[in-house]
């Protein structure tokens, strides 16, 4: 639940509308403070996930305040002092936090100029700000730093001061603030945080989703030196030790001594799309448009697509620290939403929220709702037995791959009624999927993993979909941007959830765009029409056409030389139909496996805050999507998730990564939108279309493995 989700869900107040997250965090002093030593402390509720948001926000602040970016101190989010911006998700941080900071800084600058004007005896409009020095004509001067006074910003924002239209730092490839620490191996991640007297904790997760703990023989654990406590609460069991290697060994012994009952609750993985379509569902018509007149269809084309459950598969497992002082709890973790997590911790622990502090510390790459929130509860539960000492909990690789929420499996059926010339008269899109969000902080029942394993368990909450006004969930990008006379889009949300699902980068957009882009390729080919020309002909939005043209031009679409076993294809989407425009051209070679050789992406994110940051996000998104498209699927039998190592859940390797070129189509007059989730769907569509181009085989079930190609060819 990002801010957009909350507002769409009716969370807005009666107060006058303020831009971005300023609307729900209205005090200027919540956002920034000037310090006498020549620095500005900036507080955002959005967190660094490896996407470079802290750098982008610092650029915005530097521009609005007329200061060097080196003077900006981005303070990590914490429930002690940060604005509550809900969750860092949905590619909305620049829109929500960036917009708030832009207006807050513009107003703060004006307030300080008024004070300076009185101090210097000059009118405010005759003052200039040069790197924080406030200078009057004639040379009299003061500065933000000399005038620094928190009381000046202890007031409600009005957004009456317009932000700058000309930019100095925004639009430049400012170097990322966090990369030097990482290049020199300095402590930076929550995994690296050392607190005095810290202990090490591990949790023994059940062997399968429905497993119940019968008994634990912990005698061999107690035989180890330096065991501080063994904690059991229902099916939740964990251990704390003085040293990390001891707690790792203790976990192995705990596992060997645990007896569980297990049940077969998982679907047949081989027939997953069929299973999805036969579950109890809540059906919603997402969008419907009838044609003014309805010419008779010559025939109807139909195709079925699917994607499997996908794992986040971050390189660093989830990690958190917790420390109790009496009935007060502090947690350090890499959650995407510190306030939302606090709300769920409060319910799960039976504690007032104001007794809990949640502080963000960077984790390894975050691609959606992973185990970051779950491990915070793990740490809190274990630390209760630590006598006031802090406990750090790190998940195992197996738990990271098998117990983090998965991106849901999806089945999609597309139909197009076409006339005799193959032109679309009506378009239908039906999709079946679990909800794409079970994030914490949203309901009376916590969604944290361990809460469902306690002696008095909380109910497992069914995942839901954010409303379409906030970008949607399973139905994200299900409404095609292409102009068709009639369309009907229907979302069937599953009311059974054998595997826990939640938000994975781009949510439903990855599979929906893969399906739509594959299907329009089929429609174009059925007419013998160039797929690029077909797309351009069906798009009214000039920005959409511009990225397609840019990608095609850069890739040399029209001068493509056909070679044996090589193919090229294109994919396009406007993320959420409200965000970034992205077109991708893929060039692949069909060896024993499909090898993506080259990806060319063109992207329009409106006003670019940091062009290298945008390129980095598009490159990363395209590589991750290539990995999803070609390799990835969570494996399971009827009882257990079986993909629990990197061998069972392979991801794209250095030798398999394609060359990538990113072209940014600059639109400095358009509002900034996020780049992190724009490339995924178009990349999948482009690769699938390139595979068809190379082999004449249409693979509609992801991932596109050699086995799937053989099956589709048969």
């Amino acid at each position: 639940m990002n801010l957009a989700f909350r507002l769409a869900a009716g969370g807005s107040s009666d107060a006058p509308k303020l831009p971005g997250s300023l609307h729900v965090n209205r005090r200027l002093g919540q956002w920034l403070r000037f310090l006498p030593e020549g620095l500005v402390e900036v507080r955002s509720g959005k967190v660094e996930l490896g996407q470079g948001i802290a750098t982008a926000l610092a650029q915005i602040v530097a521009d609005e305040l007329d200061i060097a970016s080196a003077r900006v101190r981005m303070i990590p989010a914490s429930t002690v002092s940060s604005p509550d911006e809900a969750v860092t998700s949905g590619s909305l941080s620049v829109q929500e936090s960036g917009t708030a900071l832009r207006y807050a800084c513009a107003e703060a600058r004006a307030i300080y100029l008024e004070v300076a004007a009185a101090r210097l005896g000059k009118p405010a409009d005759r003052l200039q700000v040069i790197d924080g020095e406030i200078v009057a004509v004639g040379g009299a001067h003061t500065s933000y730093w000399a005038l620094a006074d928190d009381a000046l910003l202890d007031r409600e924002a009005t957004a009456a001061v317009a932000p700058k239209s000309a930019h100095r730092v925004v639009g430049t490839a400012m170097l990322r603030l966090d990369i030097p620490d990482k290049a020199f191996g300095r402590p930076r991640f929550v995994h690296d945080l050392e607190l005095p007297a810290m202990l090490h904790g591990r949790v023994l997760r059940p062997p399968s989703p429905a497993a119940v703990l019968l008994s634990v023989d912990d005698s061999k654990v107690r035989a180890l030196e330096g065991i501080v406590a063994i904690v059991r609460d229902g099916s939740f069991v964990g251990v704390i030790a003085e040293r990390e290697e001891v707690v790792v060994k203790a976990l192995e012994r705990l596992s060997a001594g645990a007896a569980w009952t297990e049940r077969e609750t998982l679907p047949h993985s081989a027939t997953l799309p069929d299973w999805l379509k036969t579950q109890p569902v809540e059906t919603k018509v997402v969008d419907e448009r009838a044609a003014a007149s309805a010419p008779e269809a010559a025939h109807t084309l139909r195709a079925r697509y699917s994607r499997p459950y996908l794992a986040h598969a971050s390189i660093g497992p989830s990690c958190a620290l917790a420390q109790w002082q009496g009935d007060a709890l502090q947690v350090w973790c890499h959650s995407q939403g510190v306030y939302n997590l606090r709300a769920d911790l409060a319910v799960a622990l039976g504690l007032a929220a104001d007794r809990i502090v949640v502080a963000h510390v960077e984790g390894a790459g975050c691609y959606g709702h992973n185990g970051a929130d779950d491990v915070a509860l793990d740490a809190a539960l274990l630390a209760r037995a630590a006598g006031g000492r802090p406990v750090r909990v790190v998940w195992t690789r197996a738990d990271e791959l098998a117990w983090s929420p998965f991106g849901p499996a999806m089945a999609i059926e597309l139909e197009a009624d076409v006339d005799a010339a193959g032109e679309v008269l009506a378009w239908r899109h039906d999709l079946w999927s679990n909800g794409h969000s079970s994030r914490p902080g949203r309901a009376a029942t916590p969604t944290l993993l361990a809460a469902t394993h306690l002696e008095r368990p909380f109910e497992r909450v069914l995942s839901i979909n954010p409303p379409l006004a906030a970008g949607g969930g399973a139905d994200r990008n299900a409404v095609p941007l292409y102009e068709f006379p009639a369309r009907r889009i229907v979302n069937h949300r599953l009311l059974a959830m054998p595997l826990r699902t939640s938000a994975l980068r781009s949510l439903g957009a990855f599979a929906n765009v893969f399906a739509i882009e594959s299907f329009v390729d089929e429609l174009a080919r059925a007419r013998d029409e160039d797929p690029v020309a077909w797309r351009l002909r069906h798009l009214a939005d000039s920005r959409a056409r511009a990225v397609i043209e840019a990608a095609a031009r850069r890739a040399g679409w029209t001068s493509w030389q056909r070679r044996d076993a090589w193919g090229h294809g294109i994919g396009f989407a406007k993320y959420k139909n409200t965000g970034a425009y992205c077109a991708v051209v893929a060039e692949i070679e069909a060896e024993r496996e499909i090898r993506v050789r080259r990806l060319v992406a063109a992207v329009d994110v409106g006003l670019v805050i940091n062009p290298d940051g945008v390129a980095n996000q598009i490159e990363g998104g395209a590589i991750q999507a290539s990995s999803w498209t070609l390799k990835e699927a969570v494996r399971f039998d009827r009882m257990r998730v079986t993909s629990s190592t990197w061998e069972d859940y392979p991801i794209l390797k250095f030798s398999e990564v394609p060359a990538i070129e990113v072209e940014i189509v600059s639109r400095s007059d358009a509002p900034s939108v996020g780049a992190g989730e724009a490339a995924q769907g178009p990349t999948a569509g482009a690769i699938a279309n390139a595979v068809y181009d190379a082999l004449g085989v249409r693979v509609r079930d992801l991932p596109i493995t050699p086995e799937r190609i053989v099956a589709a060819a048969g």
Binding site: L49, G50, Q51, G52, A173, L175, R176, D178, I179, P180, D181, K182, A183, F184, G185, R186, P187, R188, F189, H191, D192, E194, R243, E244, E245, V248, A313, S314, I315, G316, P317, E362, G363, A364, G365, C366, Y367, V394, T396, R397, D612, N616, Q617, E619, G620, G621, A622, I623, Q624, T645, W646, E647, I651, L652, K653, F654, S655, V657, A659, I660
Partner: protein
């Protein structure tokens, strides 16, 4: 068990069980946080360090086997004051997103450059193939290694 370890050019006295994974000794006893836990089974490369010049998974290297050898972590490769060309190149190329895998990748790259001062791009990709990156910084990292190799060669 008390042992003497040579890490980043200095000898350290360490007291830990002899089968303790080297990773935990480096991180928890010596305070060297660059090598990071990723999988515990040597499959991802996040914990790579140089042992006698070879990039090795410290998560499944027992302490006893590291005694008497020369261990180098990313902290020992270079510092902000005395930067290794690879560290400069990573910053120049902005070759990271989350950066969790970065330390291990730089150790693989350092081992490569010590043997081959003028690697081809294919050499670099092969050398880094034991390291996983999830954010998709691969091509930037390859460019950074090629840039550093240029610097090393000159």
């Amino acid at each position: 068990m008390a042992v003497r370890l040579n890490v980043n050019g200095a000898d350290h006295e360490v007291t830990a069980a002899e089968d303790t994974p080297l990773l935990y000794v480096l991180r928890n006893d010596l305070g060297l946080k660059a090598a990071r836990f990723g999988c515990g089974t040597g499959q991802c490369g996040a914990c790579f360090v140089l042992i006698d010049g070879r990039a090795v998974a410290s998560c499944d290297t027992p302490l006893w086997s590291a005694v008497g050898k020369t261990i180098v972590t990313l902290e020992g490769l270079g510092t902000p004051e005395h930067r290794h060309p690879l560290q400069c190149a990573v910053i120049d190329e902005q070759a990271a997103q989350c950066g969790y895998c970065l330390s291990g990748i730089l150790m693989s790259a350092a081992a490569l450059l010590a043997e081959n001062v003028a690697p081809t791009e294919a050499d670099v990709r092969t050398a880094l193939d034991r390291n996983l990156c999830r954010c998709g910084s691969h091509n930037r990292l390859v460019r950074a290694v090629m840039r550093a190799a240029g610097g090393v060669a000159k």
